[in-house]
């Protein structure tokens, strides 16, 4: 192992676990949130389907949000421990040096300076990212809780804050995700693969480039002197109860915020419960039956010799004429037409009523037009007598 490849401890186990908690919750929030922001996108639809529907997506999003905030609460408690109990330096606070470092690093990159800046435990790019996470936590937390509790929010704030919060929540998410993909990925994955969040260490060479100042301090032995155990336990006795109370208050507050609002009813009753669908109009009354059209007053029965002219013709006209004579085929309009018959030939056999088709046709009583019995008697008589004109 060369000097350059020497491993230098950078992150303890707690910090690394914190990073992975953040990684899991942030990634889950980003995926489950962006699919809701862009619901028409094919990729969104695929993810929503894969996760089992938008309701499950929302539940996952909220669980991840709670996880993210819990991690933040723990982070601040642990930070307090390091600052108060361990008296570590607040190395994440940005200052003028960071601006100078950024300018120097850029001019070095462009070849305008021979050397890059010497930077401390956290360089300007890391501070920018950390502060962005804090900013994101505040923005996303506030807007997220507003969206989670819209009824309560609008009791205090104007209604417009809800859609404004939604816009901010969505666009802040876009900013955060793109910043991670660009800034974080470049610095710790693309430029070189940084293993410090897995192994906890960086190589000396990496330290030289990115944290030269801290490296110098470490190598000069300028590490903080160990704190005497008595002092340490005294500080712990003060810090632990305060931190515990603060954490309980914050966690209780979070619990209250995510549980107290029953925003909306759970189902909308189906439409058919809102009214009867089938209500027929009052039906149009069926017309009352009109008197049968055909039968007229009974014609006077002919007296004396039975001929077409003396009454038989009139009976045919009255009983049969409305059809036969009006529609083609058999006509009873005059004697010759009747004797000529219809399509199937003659209908009256002179001298033989029993074999006259017209009279046979009437026999079963189903022909629409019928003679009265005494009329029929005369017709048969006339027919048997030779059916004379």
């Amino acid at each position: 192992m060369t000097e350059y490849q020497k491993e230098i401890m950078r992150f303890d186990k707690i910090r690394r676990i914190e990073h992975w908690l953040l990684f899991i919750s942030f990634t889950t929030l980003a995926i489950t949130g962006l699919v809701q922001k862009y619901p028409n996108n094919a990729v969104s639809l695929g993810i929503v389907t894969l996760l089992g529907g938008v309701q499950i997506v929302r539940i996952i999003h909220r669980i991840s949000a709670v996880m993210f905030v819990l991690e933040a609460i723990f982070h601040f408690a642990y930070m307090g421990y390091q600052l108060y109990v361990q008296r570590k330096k607040a190395t994440m606070i940005p200052g003028v040096k960071d601006v100078v470092d950024a300018v120097q690093a850029t001019s070095h990159n462009l070849g305008l300076r021979k050397n890059g800046p010497k930077m401390g435990r956290y360089n300007f790019s890391e501070k920018a990212e950390y502060l962005a996470v804090i900013w994101g936590l505040v923005m996303m937390g506030l807007t997220g809780l507003m969206l989670w509790n819209p009824i309560f929010t609008t009791k205090i704030l104007p209604g417009q804050f809800i859609p404004a919060a939604k816009v901010a929540h969505g666009l802040e998410a876009v900013l955060a995700v793109l910043a991670i993909l660009l800034w974080h990925f470049y610095h710790v994955h693309i430029k070189r693969w940084n293993w410090s969040m897995v192994k906890g260490t960086l190589t000396r060479e990496e330290m030289e480039e990115e944290h030269a100042l801290e490296l110098e301090e470490i190598e000069k032995g300028e590490v903080a002197a160990p704190i005497p155990p008595v002092v340490l336990s005294k500080r712990k006795k003060i810090y632990y109860p305060i931190a515990a109370i603060l954490m309980i208050v914050l966690v209780a507050g979070l619990y209250a915020f995510v549980t107290f609002e029953e925003t909306a009813i759970t189902t909308i009753p189906p439409l058919e419960e809102q009214g009867t669908i089938f209500v027929p109009q009052t039906p149009t009354p069926v017309p009352t039956k009109a008197p049968t059209a055909t039968p007229g007053p009974q014609a006077e029965l002919p007296a004396g010799p039975l001929t077409w002219e003396t009454g038989i013709g009139a009976m045919f006209e009255q009983r049969c004429g409305s059809c036969h004579g009006a529609m083609g085929g058999l006509s009873v309009k005059d004697y010759d037409s009747l004797m000529k018959g219809g399509k199937t030939g003659p209908v009256i056999t002179a001298g033989d009523a029993a074999n006259s088709p017209a009279l046979l046709k009437l026999a079963d009583g189903k022909h629409p037009g019928q003679f009265e019995p005494d009329e029929l008697e005369k017709i048969i008589e006339w027919s048997n007598a030779g059916a004379t004109q």
Binding site: Y4, T267, A290
Partner: protein, 407 residues
């Protein structure tokens, strides 16, 4: 027959009677089992008795057929209406194939409905497309579930009198046809029709005869009509029904109505959820409102209607409270009323968006610029090094190299 005719009249009548009765019974048995089956081809009109022969009796007003349960059906056909109707050139016997000559064969129907249903399968012989569409409809499902009153073709379309629907050149229905359709549905859905008649759509159809305004079938479908009854999928797809017209600038611009309604709905919580439900899980029951939950179903009014219009803030609040019972007076403003945020409408939302639209490119741009300079240094250093050493890597000290970091 010839033989029979020559026998004596006393023996002839009973035998002839029996023969005719058998013939009638056979004909009736045949036709009543196959009154409208598909194989019962429509005979060419020329071979069928002339319609005037039927109309000779059936044109007389007030004729009825009575059934054993007391029903009476009108059997009168108005020759004028029939002659002007869609079926003017169709022979009576094409449909009434079981009736020929007089007396008509006896019909076994005991009720008027039973009689109508004998003709149920008949129309599809010519109107196959429509009949197939009807197969999937809510009405057919009702019928198949045992409701014999569920409508069949002839309940909506009077085959003896109805004319084809009036259309304009492009094939769309005229305003008068829209009104006629509403009248047809009203026969069974009278209370819905009364609601509809008071709505902005109903008055547009029934009073103004405006073809841009939807009649029943424009939303519900014509023969394919699906039941809105409690099916989640109907609720979830219903915004598309409204969007069909309300996103069409060609129609909406005439009336100064926004075409952004669907876009703005989808952009909001309710619409996003409904869209996702519809695409991912169309049978999902939802508590999210669709268009008609806020605007009304058949009683849709203008947005500025004092009684129900959602531009009136009290109306909007009471609409919100139907699902959000605890909502207070600020709450309705959280819905942007289909407006796209602008300095005039929802300025807070507009400016928050604007800030981010500036912030995002600014932050990412600055990051990208720095990263580009960093890449430039790495590339140019590597190139210089390769130039100085004729391409041979220095061995001591080992220069930082991407590959060496992960051992």
């Amino acid at each position: 027959m010839v033989q029979l005719k020559r026998t004596h009249i006393s023996t002839l009548f009973p035998r002839l009677f029996l023969f005719i009765a058998l013939l009638i019974a056979a004909a009736f048995a045949l036709t009543s089992t196959l009154p409208a089956s598909a194989e019962n081809d429509v005979a060419p009109a020329a071979q069928l008795p002339d319609n005037t022969q039927c109309l000779l009796c059936h044109s007389a007003p007030g004729q009825t057929k009575e059934f054993s349960n007391g029903d009476a059906k009108s059997v009168t056909v108005d020759p004028q209406l029939f002659g002007e109707g869609a079926h003017a050139t169709v022979s009576c016997q094409s449909c009434h194939a079981n009736i020929s000559g007089y007396p008509h064969p006896e019909n076994t129907a005991t009720t008027g409905r039973e009689y109508t249903l004998q003709y149920k399968e008949l129309c599809q012989q010519c109107h196959t497309v429509q009949a197939n569409e009807l197969m999937d409809s809510a009405h057919t499902k009702l019928f198949e579930a045992g409701n014999l009153d569920a409508p069949t073709c002839a309940d909506c379309h009077n085959p003896h009198a109805d004319k084809p629907f009036d259309k304009v050149e492009d094939g769309s229905l005229t305003g008068a046809s829209h009104a006629r359709i509403a009248g047809i549905c009203a026969k069974c859905h009278s209370t819905i029709f009364e609601e509809y008649a008071t709505s902005v759509h109903g008055s547009g159809v029934l009073i103004d005869k405006n073809p841009d305004v939807p009649a029943c079938t424009d939303c519900h479908g014509v023969h394919t009509i699906s039941g809105p009854t409690g099916e989640a999928s109907f609720r979830l797809t219903s915004p598309n029904i409204c969007a069909k017209c309300h996103t069409d600038a060609a129609i909406m611009d005439k009336y100064g109505i926004s075409t952004q309604v669907m876009k703005t709905y989808i952009a909001d919580f309710h619409g996003t959820t409904v869209t996702l439900f519809e695409k991912v899980d169309p049978d999902q029951q939802t508590n999210m409102p669709v268009c008609f939950d806020c605007h009304g179903v058949h009683d849709i009014r203008r947005a500025d209607d004092p009684e129900k219009g959602l531009q009136v803030k009290e109306n909007l609040l009471s609409t919100c409270q139907r699902c959000h019972p605890d909502a207070t007076s600020n709450f309705p403003d959280s819905w942007l009323s289909h407006y796209i945020p602008s300095p005039d409408h929802a300025p807070l939302v507009y400016y928050v968006g604007l800030v981010y639209k500036i912030l995002i490119p600014l932050v990412l741009g600055a990051m990208a610029l720095f990263i580009l300079t960093d890449i430039y240094r790495k590339v140019s250093r590597k190139r210089k090094k390769n130039g100085n050493n004729g391409g041979i890597e220095e061995l001591q000290p080992p220069t930082p190299d991407f590959s060496q970091d992960s051992k």
